[in-house]
Amino acid sequence: MLGLNSRDFRLFLIVCALCLFAPIILNPFPVASSLGESFNAGYPALMQRFVIFGLLVIGFNILFGLTGYLSFGHAAFLGVGSFAAVWMFKLLSYNVVPAIILSVIVAGLFSVVIGYVALRRSGIYFSILTLAFAQMMYSIAFSDLVGKLFGTIVTNGETGLQVYNDDPQILLGQGDPTVPHLFGLEMNSAYTWKIGGWEFVFQNGYYLSALFMVLGFYLSIRIFRSPFGMMLRAIKSNQTRMSYTGLDTKPYMLAAFVISGMYAGLAGGLLAAMDPLTGAERMFWTASGEIVVMAILGGVGTLVGPVLGAGVIKYLENIVSKINDSILHNWFAFMPDWMDNLLVTIIHPFIGKGWHLTLGLLFMAVVIFLPGGLMQLGEKFTALFRRKKTDDAKTGATNPAE
């Protein structure tokens, strides 16, 4: 259905359902319970990040997963997308449509230029070139060199770009919302469904982002299964041989690079649409590194892996980093004091500001024991329960378990 084979279609439906019911799935505990206070992740800002970064890594995976070209500068496209979107808010109005369109276009243009230069080399040199471009763009944005050149503000340096009341906003009519909106539908307005001790928040902005992620996911499946995707995989397995057969791989590479850059631009535009402020730090190399880690953690070259990786990292960053010692003491309050203190001392380095340590250990474990990422874990589980392995020739990294 929809041009997908049954397996992919089922996968697609599962992703759709997960996105649709995320506000419920991510809030499994009653609000007032201590588990709920610590582990509930179903609040709009975080759900938005799940799907937006999911979208970003889906796009990254088209480049890295299919062609094997490791771009270390993808955050730059995210950044220009955000800047483009915020400028649309400043100049036109708070409607997210022009913002999102322009963010994709601008990121596309940048990726054409950077891709054209960087793709002249492969392997580590390609990675370094993309990293260099991204850092250059970061420095330009951070010191607002473009703005200084023209004597105005373009990126507003370290302070970041936001919308002011005295901005032109030429399309802003009387009574229009002064927050990002989709033809009047405000992104940050939400409905709260209270049932028992539970609270589920359904927010417009989240669902718009989720819609884009679902569309991006669908497009990515189509690319993976298309002849174009096959060509990209061929480049990954042996680019030299491809060239010997007289095939020019350059246009394919560039196309993959631009597509994934546009995905990043879209993600950047969505980030700005959810929260109309952006800064240069979004383009810093650690942000690019985070994208790579997300892809590897989830499973490079798989369809769902990137989304999973993005989710795990954003969850750790936002949830685990907020657990502190006093919360731990609450959990272990039923234990004798010495045991409580001992446990807190042991766990302390891994929570709060130590969430990076937890992430590092998780990453190491995944790379060592599950080179196929978290998706491989899923596969192992299904293999455990399946009576006999399917003889599908396409099993392996390219065909994720449900």
Partner: protein, 452 residues
């Protein structure tokens, strides 16, 4: 290939049933009944959003200590600290409006994006009614914008850029800390008196909102006393190595170096300037001098003895002798075994000011709080008579001119705390300015936003 498991009718039916199931319970717009975002229940929750990792972590952790202390005092634990010296007597240790105060913490990492994510999580997940704290003006401006949109109160922590209450001011945001203009205005007369009217100043400036406005303010006040500005150079934030910026100073003909740096940058640049021998140099027949317009105890601790003889300014210092300061230093010292830093003081005071404003307004509604805080005159918080101006939500109070000196106690723990001394308490009238002063013009406070 089509899949028989998914007939169109089946999908429609399931969809309709699910949608119906979801529609059954009444949808409630978030807190529509209270008329504002995150109306508190039995307890009131506030958020402390400070850097706990990264370059400003020391400042952030000290802010956190002070904020925890403030919550204790509000809830009637401990000796009450400044509650006893505060000119308003509405707070009696029973929380705010009879509701016990709880708090959540977040790590800004001194990055705008992270700070906003953390503030969003506090607002949406934890349901905080106010966000307090932070270090770095970039972050303060970012979070202030977020709180304005979300409809909750933001009390900025350590932010010294003119823009926070200048072109980036917001109706829901308040700043107790002083700013670049005030530093310049306070330092001007002292510099004239100490170093005369004929000097050539060379500026090294951190390249972001705070650095720019700080440099602008210092330039204005030094040029007003007849100094000449030789050159101004922007340095990237977090540069680490400043030697390539300091070497040119030697041959520029300047006899004064003004370091518009903060935190780790200031520690590095002043250390390297000392290593280059700038302090022992003579230019144009005058001793070479270094000025660091904004001081903090934690920076002074990092700079060690390099800060000796250097002038700067502070919002507040623990060595002040008034009643409020003594009460705060005493309860902070008893709890943590060290004196509080200036940023800790600001965050502590802001928490009490917020609590008092809510009590006077009789509501947690941000618009009520804004009204209560605007043009509010108070005393007993360590800065003498203080005024929260309604036009730009900036606090006006005396500014301290400081000077680096050798440690009086000789104790390693006190480096930074007793290696700066108060030279003069510049009266409030001297650092006041009009809300439409050119350095602050261009912004719009907008309307207070109570949110949902």
């Amino acid at each position: 290939m089509s899949n028989n498991n998914f007939s169109r009718r089946g999908v429609l039916k399931t969809g309709a049933v699910t949608a119906g199931g979801l529609m059954l319970p009444t949808y409630l717009r978030a807190d529509a009944h209270a008329g504002y975002t995150n109306a508190p229940g039995d307890t009131v929750k506030i958020g402390f959003n400070v850097p706990q990792t990264g370059a400003y972590a020391e400042e952030g952790l000290d802010e956190l200590r002070a904020q925890e202390l403030a919550v204790e005092h509000l809830n009637g634990i401990g000796d009450g600290g400044m509650l006893n010296t505060f000119s308003e007597k509405n707070l009696d240790g029973t929380g705010i409006l009879g509701k016990k105060v709880e708090f959540v913490t977040g790590d800004t990492q001194t990055k705008s994006d992270v700070a906003r994510a953390s503030a969003q999580s506090m607002i949406q997940k934890d349901g905080v009614i106010m966000v307090n704290g932070g270090s770095s003006s970039g972050v303060a401006i970012a979070v202030q914008g977020l709180c304005q949109e979300a409809g909750i109160i933001f009390m900025a922590g350590l932010t010294h850029s003119n823009d926070t209450t200048g072109k980036d001011k917001k109706a829901n945001g308040f700043r107790h800390f002083f700013n670049g203009y005030m530093s310049g205005a306070a330092l001007g007369p002292i510099l004239e008196q100490e170093y005369g009217t004929d000097r050539n100043a060379y500026h090294l400036t951190a390249d972001y909102t705070w650095g720019w406005t700080q440099q602008e303010s210092m330039q204005a006040s030094t040029e007003a006393i007849g100094w000449n500005t030789t050159e101004t150079v922007l340095t990237p934030v977090g540069a680490g190595d400043f030697s390539s910026y300091i070497a040119p100073v030697l041959n520029s003909g300047a006899d004064t170096l003004i370091l518009n740096h903060y935190g780790g940058d200031m520690v590095n640049s002043i250390t390297q300037a000392t290593q280059f021998g700038l302090k022992d140099k003579q230019v144009n027949g005058k001793d070479f001098k270094i000025i660091v317009p904004l001081f903090s105890e934690l920076m002074a601790a990092g700079a060690g003895s390099n800060i000796e003889g250097v002038f700067g300014s502070m919002n507040w210092n623990w060595q002040l002798q008034d009643e409020g300061t003594q009460a705060f230093v005493k309860s902070f010292g008893e709890k943590y075994g060290r004196p509080p830093s200036g940023s800790a003081h600001t965050c502590y005071v802001q928490t009490l000011l917020y609590a008092d404003a809510v009590t006077r307004a009789g509501t947690f509604n941000p618009c009520g709080v804004v009204e209560a805080l605007e043009d509010f005159e108070f005393d007993g918080m360590g800065n003498g008579p203080t005024f929260y101006r309604g036009a730009d939500h900036q606090c006006f109070k005396d500014v301290l001119v400081m000077k680096g000196v050798p440690s009086a106690s000789g104790s390693d723990n006190m480096v930074g705390y007793d290696t700066v001394e108060i030279v003069e308490v510049t009266p409030r009238a001297q650092v006041e300015y009009a809300p439409d002063h050119p350095m602050f013009a261009g912004g719009d406070l907008g309307e207070c936003n109570p949110g949902a």
